[in-house]
Symmetry: C2
Subunit: 501 residues, 2 copies
Amino acid sequence: MDNPLKALTDELVRVHDLAAIHELLDWDQQTFMPRAGAEARARQTALLAGLAHERFTSDRIGELLDACSNMDLSDDEWVVVDRVARDRKRALCLPTSLVEELARVTSEAHQVWVTARSAKRFDLFEEILGRVIDLKRQKATAVGWPDGGHPYDALLDGYEPGATVAFLDPLIREVSDESSKALQAVMGSSVSPRTDILRRGFSVEKQEAFCRRVLDAMGFDFEAGRLDESAHPFTTSFDPHDVRLTTRYHGDYLPAAIFGAIHEGGHGLYEQGLDLDHIGTPLSEPGSLGLHESQSRLWENQIGRSLPFWRFWYPVLQETFGDVLSDVSLEAFHLAVNGVRPSLIRVEADEVTYNLHIAVRYELEKALIAGDLAVGDLPEAWNERMESLVGVRPESDSDGVLQDVHWSMGLIGYFPTYLLGNLYAAQFAVAAREQITDFDDRIAAGDLMSLREWLRNQVHRQGRRYEAPQLVERVTGRPPSAESFSGYLKERFGPLYDVTW
Amino acid sequence: MDNPLKALTDELVRVHDLAAIHELLDWDQQTFMPRAGAEARARQTALLAGLAHERFTSDRIGELLDACSNMDLSDDEWVVVDRVARDRKRALCLPTSLVEELARVTSEAHQVWVTARSAKRFDLFEEILGRVIDLKRQKATAVGWPDGGHPYDALLDGYEPGATVAFLDPLIREVSDESSKALQAVMGSSVSPRTDILRRGFSVEKQEAFCRRVLDAMGFDFEAGRLDESAHPFTTSFDPHDVRLTTRYHGDYLPAAIFGAIHEGGHGLYEQGLDLDHIGTPLSEPGSLGLHESQSRLWENQIGRSLPFWRFWYPVLQETFGDVLSDVSLEAFHLAVNGVRPSLIRVEADEVTYNLHIAVRYELEKALIAGDLAVGDLPEAWNERMESLVGVRPESDSDGVLQDVHWSMGLIGYFPTYLLGNLYAAQFAVAAREQITDFDDRIAAGDLMSLREWLRNQVHRQGRRYEAPQLVERVTGRPPSAESFSGYLKERFGPLYDVTW
């Protein structure tokens, strides 16, 4: 008999490749697919999801896992066997028909959402969102959750292994309280950023050129990746050698493209940094979505909105756009990109209010999955919570409940990983500053590669050897908490707005 | 038990969808995939080809076919069962390992070809092309060919069901002789087209806008399709609702983009015109590649290079490009786009020499598959044949043996279908002119939809009900021959060049 570990790896690569092909279908649907292609795409997606699921839950992988667990395994080999066994146990709870149905319905729902959003009409989306929620509730029931837990735990675990409502509730409350305090302080400040300077006319072509230049400096490999445009920026990877970023360009609003590109670039570096020697196995998979988001938010905010970063890049930006920013000082620009103001759209929210947007979604998702909130009541619930937490109330569903792509794609339990990403990012940034000599000077000199290398070793190359809390503690010396993030808000926004809280 | 015909159709749709996903992988590789993604793509492609093959050759489809053949079938139902049984018989000759290996090697070979072509070095391509040829020879042996036939017949049959060397040899000889005679006559003419007017500066953006306008008038549905750019124009379809065309733009050479787009548009209309009620079955599949090419060549040449077409479109073109063509008369432009001149590159060849390019490839392919020509001797054999048949000799392999994408993709036996397409197109054009009232007047008035509708009914909607020769005879009243094409050359180029032959 072949070495069972080798045979297992071969099978895992096939499952991985099926998943990668599924990703390509999704990427294509969001970037290039003509509208009318949606029906066939839903069929193709369901077929592929079913094939991957059947292959992964096959007896053959079960037998190979059994054979492996009787072997003398190295630490890394044990990680492979353990994580795969865990994933497979979860997968075995799900009938193939449910997996296929979820893929089909979410593929359809995505197209319906596009239409509903542009028509600003939640009622067009309501019926199919109801089907998505129903399927996700079925999935939660099939997977199950710990005694005393919450049905939402079953979904969370698919994105952030080990995360639960019991873990998140107090954390999100603390972050919300800190954010509200910071917001109140900043709103009381007499400092007023000139955000109008970001709303001048910026050639889309030049925006793209600038984004590519920054990504290049970050070490994103364009021979092994792309940057495209899409309505909602995202990153997809089919292989560490084929990583696709998207951003969006507004001719009259500069931050969307730049911070979108840097954010997605952070995701892209994680994917390109995965261990090439173990593709298809948990040693070459991201640790969790929270860890993934920590990379994007670290690059976007901790670095991309920092003064050292713009010391190097602002002159480049000014040069890129000719005279458009020649009357704006570095300090004024830096303050503008850190403008704080309660707003309706999450992806454009500042760092002080961002986590409040997540808190809104988290509460609504828990209620939907628990069956405490009907889909028909969602827009009103959304608007109320936005008003009470963020302080603004959407006038149309497009600026409210329809703004995010996630629910249409069945990504329920996914939003909290954004908040975790912010916390992990703050902790990683503290550690990077401690461990990389002259950190701020390097950034101010345009050296982004030192950070990339550090992240590559500390995070990207670790694969799934550690669960997120373990990895955070290994790298930073402390378990995940809101502490670093709260400290970061004070350090970044206190001096900028000349306030304390 | 379920209705076995329904069950068979369901299975066929799955096989069809797997093939469509495979097409998406190829389309992406040729349009957007970053270079470094090639290795993973080869693996994904092989996996998918294997899955589709296993599914199609499964016992289940065999049993369903058996059950169906005992049923009382309508004519259409019989077509489904008969064609699928035939395809499956062919597929059963091929071991899955060979199918996977072919997919893997050709996916790799495509990337190697891109590199070799841009480096103008056949030696970089030689080794992997040798592997492709070897695998295709294995495939021919596995499939087999009729007694007294040629191994090449086995490959031809995969693209043009029923076509053989015995059928093609005399036909290609006749077309070559006719083409040579026409070429000699035209070369002796004192009429000299001003082809320099096509080499002025043409904004790529405006070229694209014009291409889209023509495609729209042809009835290509952009809600169910796209037009992109690629090195080598091609058409892919994942579904009649998702049909993707590409063309290429040269800022200093107008015909490449326009005739590329019209040509691919002809293919695209065939795909969009397939019967929506029978997707996944032979009733909704193109009849043959020769028929497919008949659609592209009919639109590109019979229509797109005709005087009536430009009566309507030339003013639009002039308006599109401002002053660039204001000094050029309709007649001079029409003559220029029908410029005849022996040249190196097939896809830019005029209609008089085009089939000679095919004849070169046909002879070489037969020799490669028969084992009479070694891959290492290919460049020299190519150059010699080009010189003797077309009258020009390439100075670099990029303009010679490396110019076409086909061999890198394993498409051996495919080129002759281009020549058949030219013959079928000429016959269809004669029939259309007979059957559509005021045909030329309609074209000259910008009405391209009458022709699209006629083709849709006569050809697109027929699926695989008839083999190509049968369908041609049904539509035109005559079996396929070189006659209409020869007549067409005389009618088009005789008056233009003021010669007879």
